[in-house]
Amino acid sequence: MSDGWSTNPTGLVRVVPAPASRLPGDEPRDIDPAAVAVERRGPGRAVVRTADRRKVPVVIGEDRPASPARPRTIEVVVDGWRFELEVEDAARAALRERATRARVHGSANGPLEVHAMIPGRVAGVAVAAGDTVTAGQTLIVVEAMKMQNELRAPRDGIVERVAVGVGETIDLGDLLVVLA
């Protein structure tokens, strides 16, 4: 993997069906890749040995590398069931979830924390503490995978604090800006 940050051969990985193949009740699974009994059977094929010692053939379809918008996504077909599975380092996944929760649960009145939805380098800071901003206005520009991503204000407000500076490397879930 060229992007590096989605592959972590030593720690736990979190596997969750991508929205396209997720059903209610599908829970994320944290898996130690070193502990699973998966044998390769040539390109696109493998055999998984289950806890009750069955050998189940699986087909590996498409492998989409991680992008700023989503984790590495691997298509796996087992017994005719097709899954698009998002795979990422379990710790990173936890940060991503926290960031998502903050974005979803930020109230319209109280202070709103804006967290990083993608990791990268801060290429520009467009606002300073005390500035009045309107919804959709650019706050921060993050560069990731050679792309400039503009982070915009989710609602109207006054900038209470800017937590990062130009050139800083940020990780998923890092606090960037607080809006009052």
Partner: protein, 538 residues
């Protein structure tokens, strides 16, 4: 070798009787169009395909000798355009039109306009299609032919009239509950409503009539008793222009979901020779009464008291005709073309009809569809990634798709029919399981998990079939089966991520210059767009 011999692969079939067609138009798409084109080519007949814009590069277009565009993807603007199809046949010099199944295959007006244009319709006469397409008329015809019909009303009722409902409620009490409200003008479960008590009847009549009106342009309905825990058994009929009609054995199509067949087999398991003989005789009586020619199917319910009840006659080739072909060792589409050209039923077909009284082979078909069996069989169109179908003795696959092809959302989700044949039912089921293990499809969800479940199910193996089987067995088990597969898939994905297993296909990282053209404003917008594309993607 003379040029005549080269251009005519089956000179023996051309020797006697009226000449065969030189060119036939196939008014269909998908696997059945390919199936018919193959049969044409094996008789030395050129095939003309028709296609919508969604199918410009489809298999049936590639397989045909000529192809005529009909219009945009919606069926009403393409495969249902009777005038355009007849014109295409005339313009391309075709002498006959084979309608396949679905689309225009059971429209008497289409068959009539084909004949009015001086062409041959490969199927029954327009008058036969008309009378059997009227389900109430067909019930009366069956009753007059001495064939038991499901208890119910024998006159269609239009409930627009205020005085229409009261007599129906009286009739319903006589028939008994539960009963079904059915559309007089059509089948396939449209316009059908189940009624458990007299109180529910008025609402069910209104809903059924409204649905029938929108589906068939005719809101007339009739009532039929619901036969509980019944099996669906149908008889393949074939007739020629001389009035000879034979039965080529029966099929059990009990595994259905909302009146859509999922698995079919021939012969029907567990029938005695006597029952089988009576069933075939009833079907032939129906065929004679309707002056049937070419291929048709008489459908019956078989109840717990081992009685047969007539349901309807389909005046076309069925989706599941292949199980009869394998069990009876005949080629029904070839016979259709020969009969349409004015030939009598072939000696081989007549011999097969006699042998069908005591079957010596067993065939099973499963319909692989682009549907998600975990989401109530919802359509799951998309682009097929990998595609591997089983091979080997006793295995047949009728399909029109390949790796990399898109399954369009505009048409039936059937993508392949997998058929197996062996000496008896038990060995055919073993062979089915083996063949299903070989199937590999990526890119889209299919009904494969359901079929694997059926093949491995003790109840199915024991022949315990009924039209309620899917709701009882599959709907109760599907969530657990999928979760077990998901647990294994997750382990495999973790192994791929760790570099221990190599994927079959890897997509390159998005090209930033290409994305710049579309100008995604930010990562969130990009993610939203990718999710939107995901619905049909890959």
């Amino acid at each position: 070798m003379t040029s005549a011999a080269r251009s005519d692969p089956r000179p023996s079939l051309r020797k006697d009787g009226p000449p065969l067609f030189a060119r036939v138009l196939v008014a269909n798409r998908g696997e059945i169009a390919v199936r018919i084109i193959h049969a044409c080519h094996e008789l030395g007949i050129e095939a003309v395909a028709v296609y919508s814009d969604a199918d410009a590069e489809a298999s049936h277009v590639r397989a045909a000798d000529y192809a005529v565009r009909l219009g945009p993807p919606p069926p009403s603007e393409s495969y249902l355009r009777a005038d355009a199809i007849v014109a295409a046949a005339v313009d391309s010099g075709a002498e006959a039109i084979h309608p396949g199944y679905g689309f225009l295959s059971e429209r008497a007006s289409f068959a009539a306009s084909v004949e009015a244009a001086g062409l041959v319709f490969v199927g029954p006469a327009p008058e036969t299609i008309a009378i059997l397409g009227d389900k109430v008329a067909a019930r009366n015809l069956a009753r007059e032919a001495g064939v038991p019909v499901v208890p119910g009303t024998l006159q269609p009722v239009s409930i627009d009239r205020a005085d229409g409902i009261d007599p129906l409620i009286v009739e319903a009490q006589k028939i008994g509950f539960p009963l079904l409200v059915k559309a007089a003008a059509g089948g396939g479960g449209r316009g059908m409503r189940r009624v458990a008590s007299a109180r529910e009847l008025p609402a069910a009549l209104a809903a059924g009539a409204a649905e029938a009106l929108s589906a068939f342009g005719d809101g007339s309905v009739y009532l039929e008793r619901e036969i509980l825990r019944a099996r669906h058994i149908e008889v393949q009929l074939m007739g020629d222009r001389d009035g000879t009609i034979v039965a080529l054995g029966e099929r059990d199509c009990s595994l259905q979901r909302r009146h859509q067949k999922l698995v079919e087999e021939a012969p029907a398991p567990g029938l005695s020779d006597k029952e089988r003989g009576e069933l075939h005789a009833m079907a032939i009586r129906l065929g004679r009464a309707a002056r049937l020619r070419n291929a048709s199917t008489a459908e019956f319910l078989f109840d717990e008291d081992r009685r047969f009840w007539f349901l309807e006659v389909n005046t076309r080739l069925q989706v599941e005709h292949g199980v009869t072909e394998l069990a009876a060792d005949v080629d029904l589409v070839r016979e259709q073309l020969l009969v349409a050209a004015g030939r009598p039923l072939s000696a081989r077909l007549v011999a097969a009809s006699i042998a069908a009284a005591r079957p010596v082979r067993h065939a099973i078909e499963v319909r692989l569809s682009a549907e998600d069996p975990a989401r109530a069989f919802a359509p799951a169109p998309g682009r097929i990634g990998g595609w591997r179908m089983p091979v080997g003795p006793g295995v047949r696959v009728d399909t029109a798709v390949e790796a990399g092809e898109r399954v369009p959302p505009d048409y039936d989700p059937l993508i392949a029919k997998l058929l197996v044949v062996d000496a008896d039912r038990a060995s055919a089921i073993v062979r089915l399981g083996r063949a299903l293990d070989e199937v590999e499809i990526t890119g889209i969800q299919t009904t494969l998990p359901f079929h694997r479940f059926v093949a491995a199910h003790a109840g199915f193996q024991a022949g315990e079939l009924s039209t309620g089987w899917v709701a009882q067995e599959w709907d109760a088990a599907v969530a657990d089966i999928r979760q077990a597969a998901l647990a294994i898939a997750a382990e495999a994905a973790a192994a791929v991520d760790a570099g221990r297993v190599v994927a079959g296909a890897s997509t390159a990282a998005p090209d930033p210059s290409r994305l710049a053209v579309a100008e995604p404003a930010d990562a969130w917008q990009l993610a939203a767009r990718e999710d939107a594309l995901d619905r049909w993607s890959r």
